[in-house]
Every structure is written in C-alpha cells, then in structure tokens.
C-alpha cells in the first residue's frame, strides 16, 4: 500500500540521453582500461606486457581517429559567432571545439608516453617500472622479483584510466563531473609515481608527497564546488554563470568559491605558490611517468581552469583577474630564477614547467575572446597551441633523460651531462632543440607558442604583463643556453655519461618530438589555424 503510494507521488525518472557517437573517444579509452584490468587477470604472464602495450596503443590510436572524426563533425552554434559543438550526456560533458582539440593533444601525448612506458631495452630487457611494488626496496624479495624478471604490466591500464580522467577533466561541463574527472586522473598517477625500478625510496617518497598534497588540494577544489553550489543552486557551469552575472547570492560566498577552486586548479598546473610538489614529484617519479604527467596533466588542468573561469566565473572576471595576474608574474619569475640554480636535469625540467605554467597564465588572463572579422589569436587558442608545443617538447626532453645512464640507472646530475654532445651528437642535438623550444627561440614551436600567449594578453589589454613575460623569457633563455653549452662545449668529467641504445620505441618518440617541435616552429599555420578554428567554449 505504502509502496504504491510512494510510486504514485514520485515523478518518473526519464532515461538519460547519451550521445554515444560524440563521447566515443572517452568510452574507447575507458573501455580499453577496463579490458586491460581483465587482461591482467587472465593473460599468461610471459606475453602480458606486450599484450597490454598493444591494447593501450591500439585503443589510443582508435580514439584519436574518432576524435578527428568528431572534430570535423562539430556543429556550429547559432547563438555564438565562434563556438562549435554541443553539450552531451545531459549537461555533464561539453563536446566543443577547444575540448575536442584538447582530446586530440592529450591522446597524442598519451600515445607517445605509452611508447616510453613500453621501452624495455634500457634496463636489461625489463621496463622502467618495479617488478613487484609490494617488496621493500633492497629486500631479498625484491632481488627474487628481479631474478624472476617480474614486471608490473598494470601500468598500462592505470595510465589509460589517468588518460580518460584527463580527457573528461578537459571537457567537463558541470562541477561534479569535473571533480570526479580530477580524481580519476590523479589517483592512477599517484600510484604510477611510486613504481620506479631504480631509486625506489625516492619514487615512493614522491608518491607520498604527491598523494598527500594532491588530496589536500583537491579537497580545496571540492569545497569551492560546494560554495559555488551554495551560491547558485546548481553544478552546471552555465547555471553558475547566470547566477554570477545576475549577482543573486552572497558576494563573499562567490569570492571564496572562486579562490578555493583556483587553489585546486593552480595546484594541478603547478603555478606558484602551489608548485612545491612539482620538482620533488618530477624527480622521484619514473621518467616515462614524469613525461606523461608533465604533458598530460598540465594540458587537462589548463583546459579545466579555462573552462571554469571563462564559462562559470566569466561574469566576475574583474574580481579574479588581478590575482591571476599576480600569480602569473610570480610563477614565471620563480620558475625561471630557481631553475638556474638546479643541478639535476629532472628538477630543472620541473622548474621549467613551472615557468611555462606562468607563461600559459599570461595567455589566460588576457581573457581575449576575439571580435568578429578579426583573426587575432584568442586566449583559448593561444593556450591550446602552447600546450601542444610544450607537451611535445617536454615528452621529448624526458625521453632523452631516460637514455643518459650509468650503472645505477639514469644519471640526472647535470655535471654528468657535460660533453654529451661530443659522445652522442644526435641525442644532445635533440635535447638542444627541446631546450631552444622551451627558451622560445625562433624556428621552434616554443617561439610561436610564446608569441601566441603574449599576443592574446596584449589584445586583452595587458601590455605591461607582456613586457614582463618577454623579460622573464630572456632570463630563462640564459639557463637553457647554459645546458646547451654544457653539453657541447665542456669536456666530460671522468668517464662521462653512457648513452644507452634504445629500441625503436624511444627513438620514435624522440624523433616525433623533434620533428614536431621544429615543424611547428617553421610551419605553425595548420595547427594554429586548427586551434583558432576550435573557437570558444560552448556554454
């Protein structure tokens, strides 16, 4: 009786409409990750690593092809001049130009990282990941695991889960989806950080630091979401935008919400003063994971940052712009200045990534959405292009780091890199290309990227910020050039570094990264057009 009364009173729950064709890239990656877990359970151990590699790479290639198809098929939005795409999955995901572009670059980074993950020639036929993570470093059990040539092939499904989290984070259209995506991208990365084969104490420590600080920052992000919900009564970005524009709720709550969400997002992109985890985690994590993180997390988190601040909090941009400008300046300076004093290659690249987060923030605060009839680069497209170039060079640079080794594994102390250009000019040459791109020297992609973000900031009225940005670039260039001088014009100390001969996998990664970095510097047109064509976010 009571049950029938309840069912009579409750409104029916309509079945949600899911646009499977638009969301297929996400589902391919998520599906492959789940299949990967099953492979882990049922596939024979001898060929499991190869099977996982093939599965992960095939899934990413399939998703990439589908992403291209989705991108060419995006509909124009009537109400907006530049936006293309549509809101899918009952308002949870926004499949729009910038989002699908971000899918594309994330999948490319994912594919290159998977090739680095699969490299086994450098460490005597074993991968860069520990054989059995449960063993204590230096224990007899660990020696036994090495003797039995155990390998963790779980790293592939974990990386795929992280990848789907990144893709969802870049396209989430409501804050709850965004939070879940943030966790789906972070949790596998925490584990991956702790799985290095060599220097396991450092690796575990990096995982602990990343985990505690990451959890701490995502709680701030979550409380920001709670306050945004309290302010507007909804999780959807467009509903929050309506509330912000009409200024209905309490101003204090809105500002607190913006501040707390900014903390969570700025932590993920590694902007000062929330950058302290970056050097430790980049140094301690296995280098292929560092490459994946440096390129992927930064791209995904930046897209989420742009989406939250442009779509949801765009109406109060006068409230948050001054703070973001200050953070951009501090981040650029800190990254550039501190990287000068670094003696470890991976830490140096970490500080360089902090400096790049600063440059990206410069493009972001411009908040330049473009005007009709003008083809000046917008904030969103400049950031997209910069992320593509930065990620490519950064994966290439970390791939080079995996090859410079001594008996204890990778040798990352800068003094050991002296004279690398004399023993292996090709490898040192490619590293020099990445350094020049980071420094923003013309004829590399980094130059076009920097030009883009500075141009967007200039169009947005921040000419003085552009001046600071150019000065900091010059400062940072000193350091990058110093590394090149060290490699080519300094005599090696003692034995000098040994350069391991990689299999075709790492060679392909470095090759693609060099060609991409130089190619985007010489003919940036196609990708820049594509980024500009991506248009604005769909609300």
């Amino acid at each position: 009786m009571r049950a029938s009364l309840m069912s009579a009173e409750l409104p029916p729950i309509p079945a949600p409409e899911i646009e499977y064709s638009l969301l297929a890239p996400l589902m391919i990656i998520a599906g492959a990750a789940i299949v990967g877990v099953l492979v882990e359970a049922f596939w024979p151990r001898t060929t499991r690593f190869a099977a996982q590699t093939v599965l992960a790479c095939a899934a990413i290639v399939a998703a990439l092809a589908d992403t291209v198809w989705v991108y060419t098929d995006l509909d124009r939005i009537e109400s907006s001049l530049t936006a293309r795409g549509q809101i899918a999955a009952e308002g949870a995901v926004s499949v729009d130009g910038p989002g699908v572009f971000a899918w594309g670059i994330l999948l490319v980074f994912g594919l290159l990282s998977m090739l680095l993950f699969a490299e086994r020639r450098l460490d005597g036929g074993l991968s860069a990941f520990t054989g059995r993570a449960a063993d204590a470093p230096g224990s007899a059990a660990e020696a036994d695991a090495v003797k039995r040539r155990l390998e963790h092939s779980e790293v592939f499904p974990l990386a795929l889960f992280a990848l789907v989290g990144m893709m969802l984070f870049a396209t989430a259209n409501d804050l709850l989806t965004m939070f879940v995506a943030l966790e789906v991208l972070s949790l596998p990365l925490y584990i991956l950080c702790g799985l290095a084969r060599r220097r396991r104490l450092l690796s575990q420590e990096a995982a602990l630091k990343y985990f505690l600080l990451g959890a701490f920052s995502s709680v701030f992000f979550l409380y920001g979401i709670a306050l945004a919900y309290g302010y507007s009564g909804s999780f959807e970005l467009s509903a929050i935008d309506t509330a912000v524009t009409s200024r209905t709720g309490s101003e204090t709550m809105l500002l607190a919400s913006i501040a707390l969400m900014a903390v969570g997002l700025l932590f993920k992109i590694g902007a000062a003063p929330f950058h302290t985890w970056t050097p430790d985690v980049y140094q301690g994590a296995p280098t292929p994971v560092t490459a994946f993180m440096a390129a992927g997390t930064k791209a995904a988190a930046f897209m989420a940052l742009l989406r939250v601040f442009f779509v949801a909090f765009g109406g109060s941009s006068w409230d948050w712009r001054p703070t973001i400008v200050a953070i951009a300046v501090i981040t650029m300076f800190l990254g550039a200045v501190v990287s000068i004093s670094q003696t470890d290659v991976k830490r140096m690249l970490a500080y360089s990534s902090i400096a790049h987060a600063g440059f990206l923030l410069v493009g972001f605060v411009g908040v330049y959405a473009g005007v009709a009839g003008s083809d000046r680069v917008t904030s969103v497209s400049s950031v997209l292009f910069y992320l593509a170039v930065y990620g490519l060079s950064s994966i290439g640079a970390f791939a080079v780091v995996t090859l410079v080794r001594d008996s204890g594994g990778e040798t990352t102390h800068l003094s050991k890199w002296a004279g690398l250009g004399k023993t292996s000019p090709v490898l040192a040459g490619s590293f020099a290309v990445f350094m020049l791109s980071f420094a923003g020297i013309p004829l590399t992609g980094g130059f076009i990227g920097k030009w883009g973000v500075f141009s967007a900031a200039y169009s947005g009225g921040f000419w003085w910020l552009v001046v600071i940005g150019v000065l900091v670039s010059a400062l940072a260039a000193y350091f990058y050039v110093r590394v090149i001088v060290l490699m080519f014009f300094t005599d090696p100390v003692g034995e000098g570094p040994t350069v391991a001969v990689p299999s075709v996998l790492t060679t392909v990664v470095i090759g693609v990264a060099v060609v991409g970095t130089v190619g985007l510097g010489i003919i940036p047109g196609p990708l820049l057009d594509l980024a500009q064509h991506a248009g604005a976010f769909v609300r």
């Binding site: 939070f179 979401i225 919900y229």
Partner: protein
C-alpha cells in the same frame, strides 16, 4: 541553515590545520578525510537550502571518491612504512634541492 555551514567550515578548518601541523602521514590523511566530510555537510546543507537534490547526490559521489582515495593512500603509506618503519612525513626527505 547557516549553523550547519558554519559547522562545516569549522570542521574544514580543523582538518586543514591538522594537515599542516601533524607529522604522521596517517593522521594527515585522516585530516584530509575530515575535510572531505566537512564538504559533504556543506553539500547536504546547501541542498536543503536550495530545495533540490543535486547536493545530496554530490555527497554520494564524494563518499565513493573518498573510499577510492583511502585505498590508494594507504597502499602508498604502507609501502613506505615497510621500508622505513615510520610514517612520519618529516623523515621522507630524500628529495631536496
């Protein structure tokens, strides 16, 4: 209604201070969980205030995420404990510039 929000803010602050001052990784982690639960309280209070169920739904998502985080976090902390026989975050300091 604002009493519940105030309580949630107090709990959140206690958690945040705990993360900053405590040195045991397990305690730090518990403080993060306290902050997550403070957020849940805020979600359900706002849900009641606005008269829709979105906030209560969010609380369920947060619980699931918190459970997943516990699994990962304890695994990492235990793997460190096996090596060092301590869970103090101060002892984990090999990574310094």
């Amino acid at each position: 209604m604002s009493e519940y929000i105030t309580l949630s803010m107090i709990l959140f602050t206690i958690g945040a201070v705990g993360v900053l001052v405590r040195r045991n990784a397990i305690i730090v982690f518990m403080c993060v969980e306290l902050m997550l639960n403070a957020t849940n309280l805020a979600f359900v209070s706002f849900s009641r205030q606005h008269g829709n169920l979105d906030g209560q739904l969010a609380a369920f998502f947060v619980m699931v995420v918190a459970a997943a985080e516990v699994v990962i976090g304890l695994a990492i902390i235990i793997s460190i404990y096996r090596t060092r026989r301590t869970t103090s975050v101060d002892d984990a300091s090999l990574l310094k510039s």
